[in-house]
């Protein structure tokens, strides 16, 4: 098994900030610290070993990065100061770019969220939760009704989304950024 030896370079390039991924000593502090480790099919440590072994496909198909909650416990505890959450974002973005969806629920939640931003410039909580639950947890909706009603009656759920004035400008910024990212997909983003 030789694997894709350029893969960890790709991850490093896609990581914003310095990844330090090559410094991993496989101690497992990340996997031990992770609050969502039990949902992951590989611990972060194992994922990094796989990445270094060039198991590109298995890494991109792993749900590990999608289960990351960005709590940064791993980042502050890592004895090698690896920027683990940023590496997770990088792996997710490579998977997204290549159309690999290991974790539909998480991916869809992100998408719905991002979609709202494109529509309004801000997050629209009611729309977000409603769309997400209808799609993934329709059976949870009845159980959640009391909470929903409570939030609504207490004025915590607005039904009219706020649209920012500079939405058109924001969209051009995001479009330009996406362009830069695509053109730069394999170039070093960090220094």
């Amino acid at each position: 098994m030789t694997g894709d030896r350029a893969f960890s370079d790709d991850i490093r390039a896609a990581t914003v900030g310095e990844s330090r991924l090559d410094a991993c000593i496989q101690c497992g502090t990340c996997g031990g610290s992770c609050p969502s480790a039990r949902d992951m099919d590989h611990t972060p440590r194992a994922l990094f070993a796989m990445a270094r072994a060039g198991l590109r496909d298995e890494v991109l198909r792993s749900n590990t990065s999608w289960m990351c909650v960005s709590c940064y416990f791993c980042a502050v505890r890592c004895p090698q100061e690896i920027h683990i959450p940023d590496v997770m974002y990088a792996i997710k973005s490579i998977a997204t770019r290549e159309g690999i969806v290991p974790e539909r629920t998480a991916r869809d939640f992100s998408r719905t969220f991002v979609d709202n931003i494109h529509r309004y410039g801000r997050s629209f909580e009611v729309g977000l939760v409603a769309r997400h639950y209808l799609r993934h947890y329709p059976f949870r909706l009845p159980g959640m009704a009391p909470m929903g009603i409570s939030l609504v009656t207490k004025g915590r759920m607005g039904f009219v989304p706020h649209r920012i004035r500079g939405l058109a400008g924001l969209r051009t910024i995001l479009a330009r950024a996406s362009q830069l990212e695509a053109g730069d997909a394999r170039r070093e983003v960090t220094v």
């Binding site: 896609a14 900030g17 709590c71 502050v76 974002y89 939640f109 990212e181 730069d184």
Partner: protein, 328 residues
């Protein structure tokens, strides 16, 4: 000390309106002026970076660019939401660190004629501003209704003291700033070792079993510590612990009723501000019973069990002293 730039974030304009109302009321009392950034946009939480990092950072960068152009003398940008705070702070930090990042983000911002100079604004969380800039003594000076007898679990969640790449917090796992603030209000701080544990973030949306377990742990630990209520500094934490507490109870067959308030609501109460101006009442798990204790003289009533205290045995070995500021 007047004049902070203010980035409320989407939740404060929506589900966490109580946070927005209470922080406004409290800062008004303290005479601190906030200037909301005009036409800010969503920071993308953790979701945008997932799909497209550069666009995610550009999204955040637009807010920083707006802040810079609207500075007008104030160069501290306050974010009350922990996720917004960390996003803004990280973007600024990475732009400072990496010339490539600086060039690319400003390239994207230029599409709408915008620009951000890294370091132009100092991004800080509301908690830090209250503790560091305004100071506990100043807060204490405004306390007219000490929260005597109220037992509070201080909960920071992630993202305030972590990742903290600029190392502004002495402790990143057990910071005591919120504890000190709660104590300054006259309330009793319960031992709450999970003060920076994860609330589950979006796990309630993508992996409910894990999300509920993370919520349970926090609620259980606060309950074990004897807390009347838990205070938080982040709308996401508040939402998870408050709104999903019922579903969590249902999932585990438990019956916790732990009110979750924003720390600014608690400050407001200690300042003797009207509960309605602080958004109290909008919490899903009602804080009525817990708050009934405030303002009432609560001496050590007979019959009420004294706080548990382990009998000191002669053979007990001494404990190390807590880490002091001067220790290296």
């Amino acid at each position: 000390m007047s004049g902070y730039l203010y980035y409320p974030g989407c939740s404060l304009a929506g589900s966490a309106r109580a946070y927005a109302e209470s922080l406004t009321a409290v800062l008004d009392t303290l005479g601190v002026r906030l200037r909301e950034i005009d036409d800010w946009n969503c920071c993308g939480a953790t979701e945008y970076l997932t799909l497209s990092p550069l666009a995610g950072y550009a999204l955040i960068g637009r807010n920083l660019a707006l802040a810079e152009s609207q500075r007008n003398g104030s160069d501290t940008l306050v974010a009350p939401c922990s996720a917004c705070y960390v996003n803004l702070a990280k973007t600024d930090r990475y732009m400072r660190e990496s010339p490539v990042m600086r060039e690319q983000l400003n390239g994207a911002l230029a599409a709408d004629g915008m620009h951000y100079t890294p370091g132009a604004v100092a991004v800080r969380h509301l908690l830090e501003v209250l503790v560091e800039d305004i100071g506990l003594e100043e807060l204490e000076r405004h306390v007219t209704r000490p929260l005597t007898g109220l037992r509070v679990a201080p909960y920071l969640g992630c993202l305030v003291s972590r990742p903290d790449y600029d190392r502004r917090w002495a402790r990143r796992e057990q910071p005591l700033e919120l504890d000190r603030l709660v104590a300054a209000l006259g309330a009793e701080v319960v031992d709450f070792p999970l003060r920076t544990a994860c609330c589950g973030g979006h796990m309630t949306q993508i992996s409910p079993d894990t999300g509920f377990e993370l919520i349970r742990r926090l609620v259980e630990a606060a309950d074990r510590g004897g807390a009347d209520l838990l205070v938080t500094v982040c709308p996401m934490c508040q939402m998870n612990l408050d709104a999903y507490q019922g579903e969590m109870n249902h999932h585990f067959g438990t019956d916790y009723r732990l009110p979750i308030l924003f720390f600014t609501q608690l400050i407001g109460l200690a300042f003797n501000l009207d509960a309605s101006t602080l958004g109290i009442g909008s919490e899903v798990v009602s804080a009525r019973d817990a708050l009934a204790r405030i303002g009432v003289e609560v001496p050590t009533v007979e019959g009420e069990p004294a706080p548990p205290r382990r009998a000191k045995r002669s053979q007990e070995l001494p404990m190390p002293a807590p880490l002091a500021e001067g220790d290296r």
